[in-house]
């Protein structure tokens, strides 16, 4: 033992005896530091991101139809995977729930749809039409106000066109459009409006409305699911505006993120972004080109607000702006431009004025909870389906409020989802049946088609058909025969929701640490029951995103590998040099009776001790740094990191695996790199000791 102690002591003393050793030590120190910090970061991010993925949509695992070409890729928003439908969810729910570790099975399917919006003038014209229509007649004051609003819009367009004509070549606009605008802005046109409102409205709708190109298409990604089951299973979900879709109802919950991003007044949203950057990220408009860009957009794009305001509100806005800016300018657009031209000194004050005084005059959101939204989606077969869904409110995932990834998906009830995906719901069947009945259409099986269609007295059939067609038109005009159920009021039982097509399902586990075993047992259950399902874990189900941590880990390990390979080469060289410097000493040891094995273990021990000393120092520094980061938190610089961090900051935890790993790597690297110089040292002849240094 004392022999080994001698080795250790010699090693420890040798460490600082040579500059080379210090260089070797510092490389090892840097390597272990990097390994411990990197390992802990990646591990913490892995855990945080798994929380994000599991807690928002994916669950711990996902099942899908085994025959599908693709596998679920929940967060790959713009690439909907080609999944075959599972015909009846109720048939798979039971077997999956029978696993003791499964706490919930939630049907899910991801799809994207288009929401088309009419422009502002369309919306005002629609209000005006209602206000003058017999059934929905409004007081004259309301009608006058709407008329004034439309007239103001017309003048805004006229002014815009004037500007465009100044900069663009003559003829950039259809001269007819100029004539139409002139007509629509004339006193004569508006004086005659009340006498014949519908003709005037038609003129405005057909000739004027299209001149305001602010209509919008919104791409909406959504998860079609059993909303109640979803809410119970994913407890990070919380309602922000409006309310939860009542049990069994059709309805849409917009993600708060999408709601802000897509449905909020653009100027207001940009103000929010600047405000957040200034207050939460300590950025400065003066130094940040992105923020300068937002200011510039706000300065230039004031029309959305201008068009929204009727003359009375415009007047109010002008006086608010005049007071705030201490200006005598009377043009609303000009005032807004000046108002939005903010810098670091005046931003917060303007922000407050905007929300306290201007916001009440405008519609901050172009869609409010409780309103209907028409959603169009391409079905798998390529046709377009459209449904009207009531938007009940907005939701977000606790801790993931700022993440565009987690917030990219809205939630839709399963029935509407099935409609949009092109699957036949009981309502559709009922509607088709009633249509068939009303039209007198009968189902003709293909093999009997010839006999049914052409057998018997063909001529009378045709006659009857013609007769029917005419009758249909009459019936449609009457409008009462075909029953169209108001689907927004329809309430479905759990049974109806479950019995039907789903694209897949999320499975939540009671004990997530037993993911691997449960995956296997679930797959076994599916195979045994002949369910033709594939079960995958959350990481796979998340699509490319799930691979991110894998990639990050691969990069980390690769970088560490490179560092240590470089270290290995350098250490090897350095130990060779150190050994050459010590030929006399080693020869002496051999001469006075040290065996080769002693010399071998001496060089190895020295290098390993060197590695362990500096490795410990590196690990200690790394751990201290991780603890510091855990205190301070790493801010999520962008929304992707926000998702990976599962919140605004990542608080990394020291990963014992990284510590152990660092020591193993250090041991292996030092041993391997010392092996060659150590064998070289054993070849030093004792004669070297005799050589005089004269």
């Amino acid at each position: 033992m004392s022999w080994f102690l001698l080795l250790l002591q010699t090693s420890l003393r040798n460490i600082f005896s040579s500059f080379l050793n210090v260089v070797i030590g510092l490389i090892i120190l840097a390597g272990t530091f990097f390994f411990v910090v990197g390992g802990s970061l990646v591990d913490s991010m892995d855990k945080a991101m798994s929380r994000s993925i599991i807690g928002s949509v994916a669950g711990n695992c996902q099942v899908y139809e085994a025959s599908s070409q693709d596998s679920p890729a929940i967060f790959d928003n713009w690439q909907i995977p080609d999944l075959d439908p599972i015909p009846d969810f109720s048939k798979i729910k039971g077997p999956l729930m029978s696993d003791p570790n499964v706490s919930a099975v939630v049907p899910e399917g991801v799809n994207t749809a288009i929401v088309v919006y009419g422009n502002t003038i369309d919306q005002v014209l629609e209000k005006l039409r209602k206000a003058v229509s017999p059934g929905t007649r409004q007081p004259q004051a309301v009608v006058d106000s709407l008329k004034a609003h439309v007239r103001q819009m017309v003048s805004v367009i006229q002014a815009d066109m004037g500007k465009v004509n100044q900069v663009a070549a003559t003829g950039a606009f259809d001269p007819q459009a100029g004539e139409d605008l002139k007509k629509a802005s004339s006193d004569e046109f508006w004086n005659g409006f009340d006498r014949d409102p519908f003709n005037h409205l038609e003129f405005l709708e057909n000739k004027i409305a299209y001149l305001i190109p602010d209509s919008d298409q919104i791409f909406l990604s959504y998860v079609g699911t059993d909303l109640d089951a979803y809410r119970k299973a994913f407890d990070r979900m919380e309602i922000v505006d409006g309310q939860m879709v009542p049990p069994g109802h059709r309805g849409l919950l917009l993600s708060k993120y999408v709601y802000e991003e897509m449905f909020k007044l653009k100027s207001a949203h940009r103000l929010d972004q600047i405000h957040e950057a200034l207050t939460e990220k300590n950025k400065k408009i003066a130094k940040d080109p992105d923020l300068q860009d937002l200011v510039k957009q706000n300065r230039l794009e004031t029309r959305e607000i201008v068009l929204q305001l009727d003359p009375l509100s415009s007047q109010k806005a002008v006086s608010i702006l005049q007071a705030t800016l201490n200006s005598k300018e009377t043009g609303l657009s000009e005032l807004l431009s000046v108002f939005f031209d903010t810098d670091d000194s005046n931003f917060e004050a303007r922000y407050k004025v905007f929300y306290d005084q201007l916001a009440p005059l405008v519609e901050l959101y172009r869609l409010k909870p409780g309103e209907l939204l028409t959603i169009k989606a391409y079905t798998k077969s390529g046709s377009v389906e459209a449904v009207n869904v009531k938007v009940y409110g907005t939701f977000q995932f606790k801790g993931l409020e700022k993440s565009g990834l987690a917030g990219g998906l809205s939630l839709m009830d399963l029935m509407s989802f099935r409609d949009l995906y092109g699957y036949v719901t009981p309502d559709k069947i009922a509607e088709t049946k009633s249509l068939e009945k009303a039209a007198g259409v009968t189902f003709v099986p293909r093999d009997q088609a010839e006999a049914d269609l052409f057998g018997g007295s063909a001529s009378s059939d045709v006659e009857q058909g013609q007769q029917k067609a005419i009758n249909d038109k009459a019936e449609m005009g009457g409008g009462a025969k075909v029953q169209r159920v108001d689907l927004t009021q329809q309430v479905y039982s759990q049974d109806e929701i479950d019995k039907g097509v789903v694209m897949g399902a999320a499975i939540l586990l009671k004990d997530p640490s037993r993911l691997k075993e449960t995956l296997k047992s679930l797959q076994d259950t599916c195979d045994k029951d002949g369910l033709d399902l594939k079960v995958i874990d959350w990481q796979k189900a998340a699509g490319n995103l799930g691979q991110f941590v894998f990639v990050a880990k691969a990069i980390l390990y690769f970088a560490t590998f490179i560092i240590f390979v470089v270290a290995l080469v350098i250490i090897n060289n350095a130990v060779v040099m150190a050994t050459l410097q010590r030929v006399r000493e080693i020869g002496t040891m051999r001469a006075i009776g040290a065996r080769k094995s002693f010399v071998l273990s001496m060089v190895l021990t020295e290098t390993v001790v060197l590695g362990l000393v500096f490795g410990t120092a590196g690990s200690a520094l790394g751990s201290a740094f991780v603890v510091f980061l855990n205190h301070a938190g790493i801010p999520a610089a962008n929304e992707f990191l926000y998702f990976f961090f599962s919140g605004p900051r990542l608080y990394p935890l020291l990963n014992s695996g990284s510590l152990v790993g660092a020591f193993i790597v250090v041991l292996v690297v030092t041993c391997v790199s010392a092996l060659y110089p150590a064998t070289m040292a054993t070849r030093v002849s004792p004669i070297e000791a005799m050589a005089s240094d004269e």
């Binding site: 040798n14 000493e585 051999r590 065996r595 080769k596 000791a689 240094d693």
Partner: protein, 234 residues
Amino acid sequence: MAEIVSIQNVVKEYHLDKVVVPALRGVSLSVTQGDFLSIVGPSGSGKTTLLNLIGCVDVATSGTVLIDGHDTASLNDRQLTDLRLNTLGFIFQSFNLVPVLSVFQNVEFPLLLQRKFTKAERAGRVDELLEKVGLDKHTQHRPSELSGGQRQRVAIARALVTRPKIVLADEPTANLDSVTGENIIDLMKEMNRAEKTTFIFSTHDAKVMSHANSVIRLADGQILNGKGVPAGAH
């Protein structure tokens, strides 16, 4: 007195590229236990080669070298190493102490390699020897903190700590001034008397040579004056 070293017709040749350089050309020699033998001769005469052969750090090209009855030609590296450890002690011209070890640890080193003594036994021996060489006040010093003479004393203590039968010293005073050199030889002589340890040392210093009981004169790899001739005979 028993014969401790016996050398018969030893030839040692070195190969430098394709040229064969003879270092020893048929040397025969016998050393009795307790001798204080000096090997002298000009540079290149084969002194160091002869010491290397006796010290078992090198093997002869032909002829036999018997050290304490062991034929070195028949031993493998490990056996030679053990023979060096247990039977021989070395004193080097440049002291060759381990720089990172203290005086005490340098002396203790061969005992640790032997692995047959307890800590107390080792400490007893080391302290005793350090006292004899007059360094009992310097046990914790590093070699770099000692003078040349002191370092050579440490080396002597290290060479003697295993109580070897033979101590070999290759020009032990060459790096020392004459007074210190004299002291070192006196110390070696004293050890030779007290412990009955055989000392074989090479030198080209006539003063040092005069302390020897016997002198072997080498020239061109051959012994000039027969074997083990008493110094007084010349």
